[in-house]
Every structure is written in C-alpha cells, then in structure tokens.
C-alpha cells in the first residue's frame, strides 16, 4: 500500500491498520525518516529552518506502487506500506514511513531496507533546505546510489 500526502502520520495507527486481523505476522520492521536540523552536505553551523519537499504528482504514486509490488515479489511479506509526505516541513518532522510485515524478521528487515534505498534514489522527490543563509536544493549522495546498487 502506498500514500503520498501533505499530512503527518501516526506510526502506531499505520501499523495497526496494516496488520489488523493478520495473526500470521511474526515481525514488523519500520523505518521513519525525519527532518534533521543540519544541512545535508555542509557544516554543523548551517541550521535548517525549513525543508520543502517537491514531488512529481502522478509519477510518484506510480513509482511507489511499482516498487512496493517489487518488494512483495522479492520477499515473503504479509503486508507493506509506504507513506511519503511532501510540502513544507521543519526539523524533527516526519518525512517518510516504510513498514514491512512478515512471518520472519529477515524478510521484513531486508524489504524495508530495499524500499528505503530505492526511495532515496528513484522516487521523484526533491528537498529544498532553507537556513538563515538562504535556500538550497539537497544534492543526491553517491552513497545512496551505492546502497541501491546492491539490490540488483
């Protein structure tokens, strides 16, 4: 299941809704990305005041649904969820939630990492960080490309 939304989310409610009634689940892995107060590439002095997430409506939903299906093909999952926010956020705010539920924990852990690595390098989102010094677009990191490459 995937959702792209402006609104915040509650991890407990999301997990409960996703796993309700399915008592074959033995493990639920989740990852939540939050806005850090330090600008991505720069020194610790450059405090972020807001982060604005732009995305490509239409492509985002399509791409997220594809990768969610792919994770369910590769691993034995009872349920999975991707929730990604867009719009203006501030440090500490939740950005993204990935939940994977499985009978066995290894499937849940691997699928969750796969989805996060993929989101970082393929989902059409762009982050604009604003600090006292002005606004700048967060640059993609090579380490994220490397992380995605291991799932080939």
């Amino acid at each position: 299941m995937i959702r792209v939304q402006l609104e915040d989310f509650d991890i407990g409610q999301e997990i409960d809704a996703l796993t309700a009634g399915n008592t074959g689940i033995g493990g639920i892995c989740s990852f939540m990305g939050t806005v850090r107060d330090m600008a991505g590439g720069s020194g610790a002095d450059d405090a972020v005041s807001t982060m604005t997430l732009e995305h490509y409506p239409g492509m985002t939903e399509k791409a997220l649904a594809q990768i969610d299906a792919e994770a369910n093909t590769r691993w034995n999952l009872a349920a999975s969820l991707i929730v990604h926010r867009y719009g203006e956020l501030t440090p500490g705010d939740r950005i993204v939630l990935v939940v994977t539920a499985s009978a066995h924990r290894q499937d849940a852990f691997e699928a969750c990492q796969f989805l996060m690595d993929w989101l970082k390098t393929k989902a059409p989102f762009w982050k604009l960080e604003a600090s006292e010094d002005g606004a700048s677009w967060v640059e993609a990191r090579e380490s994220d490309d490397d992380a995605t490459a291991r799932w080939k």
Partner: protein
C-alpha cells in the same frame, strides 16, 4: 508534448510545465534539451550541464538518448533526493 520541470530545473527555466509541438528533427531527450536550451538564458542555464539533469518519459525514468514523440509527457529534473 507536455514538458514538466522540477526543483532547480524548474527554478531556472522559470516554468513548471508547458505544452509544445515537438519540432521536426527532435527524436531523443538529449535533442529536446538542446532545442530547449536555445530558447533563453534560463533554459540555457538549466541544461548547461546535462550530467546533472535526469529525464522521465511518461512518468518512467529514462536515459537521455531515449526516443521522444509528440504524444509523450517528458519531465526534466535533478537527481532525486526523497526518503
């Protein structure tokens, strides 16, 4: 053809999207970028370094030498930074 621009590509071109008729002789995303570049300083700046520009055709990631046709939706943007 519908063209969309995101993030700093959008800021440089000055527009988020437009509809154009694909001119004769433009057959790939790279050729489309070259053609867009000569429309003005903003466009020239946006496409000055094609290494930093990514393209999606009909909402799928594509390579710069991917064919484009007049019925396509083409998007130009920087490498993505979601998650």
């Amino acid at each position: 053809m519908k063209i969309l621009y995101f993030a700093w590509v959008r800021e440089k071109t000055g527009i988020a999207s437009e509809e154009i008729s694909l001119p004769d002789g433009i057959g790939t995303a790279t050729q489309l970028m070259d053609w867009l570049s000569v429309r003005g300083d903003g466009f020239a700046d946006a496409f000055a370094n094609t290494d930093t520009v990514r393209v999606a055709i009909n909402q799928e990631h594509a390579s710069l030498d991917h064919p484009v046709t007049d019925s396509d939706e083409v998007a130009f943007f920087p490498p993505v930074t979601g998650g």
